[in-house]
C-alpha cells in the first residue's frame, strides 16, 4: 500500500513521531517538520530503513508565524495529509504568575498551530483535497484550575478545527480533531497517570490513522474519555467551581 506525502508538524513530539511511523508503515512519504530538524536524522534513517519510504526533514519554528508560508512552499510536495502535533504544556503554577510563560503556552497550542493549519487549509482547498489532523486535548473541553492556561489554548484550537471542518466540508478537505486524554509521552513523563486512562503513542497513532481513513470528525483516543469529559462538561458551573478535579 502507498499514498501521498504526510507532513508532521511538531515531529519531535512522541505523538507526532508515532503517527509518522504509522503512516510510513503504510507506504506514505513522510515530511518531518520541527525546530532543529537535523537532530531528527536518526529517526529519518530509522523510518527509511524500516519502511523504505522517503523521509525529509524540514526546519520549522511554529512560533515564527511569518516564516510559515515560506516553510510550506519549501516542502518537496504539498502533502496529502498534514498532522499538527505542535504543543507545549508548561507548568500551571508558572503560567498563573508568569505571563510570559502563559503566553508561550497559548501561542504554542493555539496561535502557531492555527496559523500553520490556516495556510495549509487554503492550499488544500485550492487543490480540492487533503486531510488536516489536529492534535488538541481533552483539557480544552472545560477550563479547570489545574491546567486552564493550556486548556484554554487547546479549546481555541479545537474551535478553530471545528470551524475549518465546517468551512471545508464541501471542498473535499477533511478535518480530524484528536483529543487524547493521558498519553505516555515526554510531556507526561514523571506524572503518575492512571493506567486505564492512559494511551501509548503507538496505539494513539493507530486510532488516528483509522479515524482519518473513516473520515471521522472528532475522536477521543480512549473511548472512556468521551464519557469522562461528557460528565465534566455537564457539571453545573455553580458546583464545578467548588470542585478540584
Amino acid at each position: 500500500m502507498s499514498g501521498g506525502a504526510v507532513l508532521i508538524l511538531g515531529a519531535r513530539s512522541d505523538i507526532g513521531m508515532a503517527i509518522a511511523r504509522a503512516y510510513a508503515a503504510e507506504g506514505h512519504a513522510i515530511q518531518l517538520a520541527a525546530r532543529k530538524a537535523d537532530t531528527l536524522e536518526p529517526e529519518r534513517n530509522d523510518i527509511t530503513l524500516r519502511h523504505g519510504v522517503d523521509v525529509t526533514l524540514h526546519e520549522l519554528d511554529a512560533l515564527d508565524y511569518d516564516s510559515h508560508a515560506t516553510f510550506l512552499d519549501s516542502l518537496p510536495t504539498l502533502p496529502d495529509i498534514a498532522v499538527c502535533a505542535v504543543g507545549y504544556m508548561g507548568e500551571q503554577s508558572d503560567n498563573e504568575t508568569d505571563m510570559q510563560a502563559a503566553r508561550l503556552v497559548m501561542r504554542s497550542n493555539f496561535e502557531g498551530p492555527a496559523n500553520l493549519l490556516a495556510l495549509l487549509a487554503n492550499r488544500f482547498e485550492a487543490r480540492g483535497s487533503g486531510t488536516l489532523i489536529g492534535i488538541s486535548s481533552v483539557a480544552g473541553d472545560r477550563g479547570r484550575a489545574t491546567n486552564y492556561v493550556y486548556g484554554s489554548a487547546k479549546a481555541g484550537f479545537t474551535a478553530f478545527l471545528s470551524g475549518l471542518r465546517n468551512r471545508l466540508a464541501k471542498r473535499g478537505v477533511h478535518v480530524l480533531t484528536v483529543k487524547p486524554g493521558f498519553v505516555a509521552t515526554k510531556m507526561t513523563e514523571g506524572m503518575d497517570l492512571p493506567e486505564k486512562l492512559t494511551a501509548d503513542p503507538d496505539k494513539l497513532a493507530r486510532s488516528v490513522l483509522r479515524a482519518a481513513k473513516m473520515r471521522r470528525n472528532i475522536i477521543y483516543v480512549k473511548p472512556v474519555w468521551w464519557l469522562v469529559m461528557l460528565i465534566i462538561r455537564n457539571i453545573p458551573e455553580a458546583i464545578f467551581k467548588k470542585l478540584s478535579i
Partner: protein
C-alpha cells in the same frame, strides 16, 4: 512501579526510568547501581533492580543495513519482531532467534539466546559483529572479536552485568521465502527422541516438544520437529504469490489470569496425551509460515497468564552429551512423579559454547514451565540437584529462584566472571536482583 519478568514471579517495586539519550543513561548511574531492561522477556529477576532499573525502550532505532553482507546496525532496544517486519520482505531473516520475537536485540545479546539452530549455528552471540557498551564510568566502548575482545566475550551472555549495551551490529541470513519446510515425527520415548536428534544433526532447525508427564516405557515421548527455510522453487505454487508468508496472525489476548485449578495433573496430562496423539497422527512434512514455526506462542499475547495469579517459573538446564541420557531420565522421572507437568516442555540438542557466561554447551537442554507453588519450588530444587549431579548448568534468562550455592557449584565460570566484575568496577555499577541472589 510493580515489575516482574515474563514469568510474573518474583514481583517487586522497582524504580524504572527510560532515558532517551546516552547522556541521560550515563546520568542514571548517579542513582546507584543499575540494570538495563529491554522488553522484560527474561522470565525471572534478570532485568530487575529495585532502586534503579533502566529501560532501553527509547533506544529503538535502526541505524544501517548492508545489503551485500546482511549486516544490520541497530540500537539495543529494537525489537526482533521489528527487524523481521523490516527485512524479511527483502529476503533477510535473523540468523538466530529465540522462541519469541518480542525481545530486544540488547536482551538477546545479554542472554546470548539460542534458537532451534543452535546445534549448527551456535547462539545469538555468534551473529554479533560488535557491541557498543556503556561501562561503569559512563564511557562507551566498542567491542568485537578483534578489539576489546575480553569485554565482547563477557558481555555476550553477561546478563547486562558488564555494562549497558547501547548499539550492536548483527548478521542476518538470506532466505528465499518466509516459509519453513517442517518434518515432524513422533518419538515414543526418550531414546527414540535422542536418536532422532542425533540422526538429524544436519537439519538446520530441530526441537522437540516433550510430554513430561508420561512414565515408564513412554518416558520422554516427544514430537520431534525439524525444519529448514523453504527455497522458492520448492514452495507449492499456491504459496509462491506470497513468498514471505502470510501476514502475521491476528493476535489473541489472554486478558485475565486463569484460576489456579485450571492447570492440574489431570488437565495437563490430558492435554499432553491429546497433543502427542494428534501430532503423531499428523506427522510428516508440511509448509509452515515463519511466524507459526518460530513464534507459536506470540500469537497469544499475555500467554504467561495461563499459569494464574502467582505466576510461573521455568526450569531450563543443559546436560553434557555423555550424561544427558541418564540425566534427562532422572529429571523427567522426578517431574512425572511430582505430577507437576507443563504443556511447554521442550527438548533440544545444543552445539558449541558461546560467551564467558553463556548458557549453551554441547549436549541436551530441557525446559519445563510450572505454575508457582511451594510444591513446585521443592521439585525445582530437586531438579537443580539432578542437573548438578550430571554436570549440567542453568539458563539465567529463565531463572527466578536458583540458589547461589547451586549456581556456583554447577557453573565454575561464575567465580571468574564475578572476579572480572570486581576488577572492572562493574560489580558496583551494574546489579540486578538476580546478580545479587546468585553472587555474580
Amino acid at each position: 512501579m510493580k515489575l516482574s519478568g515474563w514469568g510474573r514471579y518474583p514481583v517487586a517495586y522497582c524504580r524504572l526510568t527510560a532515558p532517551r539519550t546516552p547522556d541521560a543513561l550515563a546520568e542514571a548511574r548517579s542513582h546507584g547501581p543499575l540494570i538495563a531492561r529491554g522488553n522484560g522477556r527474561a522470565y525471572g529477576d534478570s532485568a530487575m533492580n529495585e532502586d534503579n532499573t533502566v529501560s532501553t525502550r527509547h533506544f529503538n532505532r535502526l541505524i544501517a543495513f548492508d545489503d551485500s553482507t546482511g549486516q544490520l546496525t541497530a540500537e539495543a532496544g529494537v525489537l526482533l519482531g521489528d527487524v523481521i517486519d523490516a527485512f524479511l520482505p527483502r529476503g533477510w531473516f535473523p540468523a538466530v532467534t529465540p522462541g519469541t520475537k518480542y525481545v530486544t536485540l540488547g536482551g538477546m545479546a545479554a542472554a546470548d539466546v539460542h534458537g532451534k539452530n543452535h546445534h549448527i549455528d551456535g547462539g545469538f552471540g555468534k551473529t554479533i559483529d560488535w557491541l557498543d557498551i556503556m561501562g561503569p564510568d559512563g564511557t562507551i566502548t566498542r567491542a568485537s572479536r578483534d578489539k576489546n575482545a575480553e569485554l565482547f566475550d563477557t558481555t555476550i551472555g553477561g546478563m547486562g552485568l558488564t555494562g549497558v549495551i547501547l548499539r550492536l551490529a548483527i548478521r542476518l541470513r538470506r532466505v528465499e521465502t518466509g516459509w519453513i519446510l517442517q518434518h515432524s515425527h513422533a518419538a515414543p520415548n526418550l531414546t527414540a527422541a535422542m536418536e532422532a536428534f542425533e540422526a538429524a544433526h544436519d537439519a538446520p532447525y530441530s526441537v522437540a516438544w516433550i510430554d513430561c508427564l508420561s512414565t515408564s516405557d513412554a518416558l520422554g515421548r516427544s514430537i520431534v520437529m525439524l525444519g529448514e527455510h523453504a527455497p522458492l522453487d520448492r514452495l507449492p505454487t499456491r504459496y509462491r504469490q506470497i513468498p514471505f508468508g502470510p501476514p502475521p496472525r491476528r493476535k489473541r489476548n489472554l486478558p485475565f489470569n486463569l484460576p489456579a485449578f485450571a492447570l492440574n495433573r489431570w488437565t495437563v496430562g490430558t492435554f499432553n496425551a491429546a497433543y502427542y496423539r494428534a501430532n503423531a497422527r499428523n506427522a510428516g512434512t508440511t509448509y509452515v509460515p515463519w511466524d507459526t514455526y518460530f513464534y507459536p506462542l506470540d500469537g497469544i499475547l499475555g500467554w504467561n497468564r495461563i499459569y494464574g495469579r502467582r505466576g510461573f517459573v521455568q526450569f531450563q538446564c543443559v546436560l553434557p552429551d555423555d550424561t544427558a541420557r541418564p540425566g534427562l531420565e532422572a529429571l523427567l522421572t522426578a517431574t512425572a512423579e511430582a505430577g507437576q507437568g507443563s504443556f511447554l516442555a521442550v527438548l533440544k540438542k545444543m552445539g558449541p559454547e558461546g560467551g564467558r557466561l553463556s548458557f549453551p554447551m554441547p549436549g541436551y537442554t530441557l525446559a519445563l514451565d510450572f505454575p508457582v507453588s511451594d510444591k513446585v519450588l521443592t521439585l525445582m530444587t530437586q531438579l537443580d540437584r539432578i542437573t548438578l549431579d550430571h554436570g549440567g548448568r542453568f539458563y539465567l534468562a529463565k531463572d527466578a529462584r536458583l540458589s547461589r550455592d547451586m549456581f556456583h557449584a554447577a557453573d565454575p565460570r561464575a567465580a571468574t566472571f564475578a572476579a572480572m566484575r570486581r576488577e572492572t568496577g562493574a560489580d558496583t555499577a551494574f546489579v540486578s536482583m538476580q546478580s545479587e541472589r546468585l553472587g555474580l
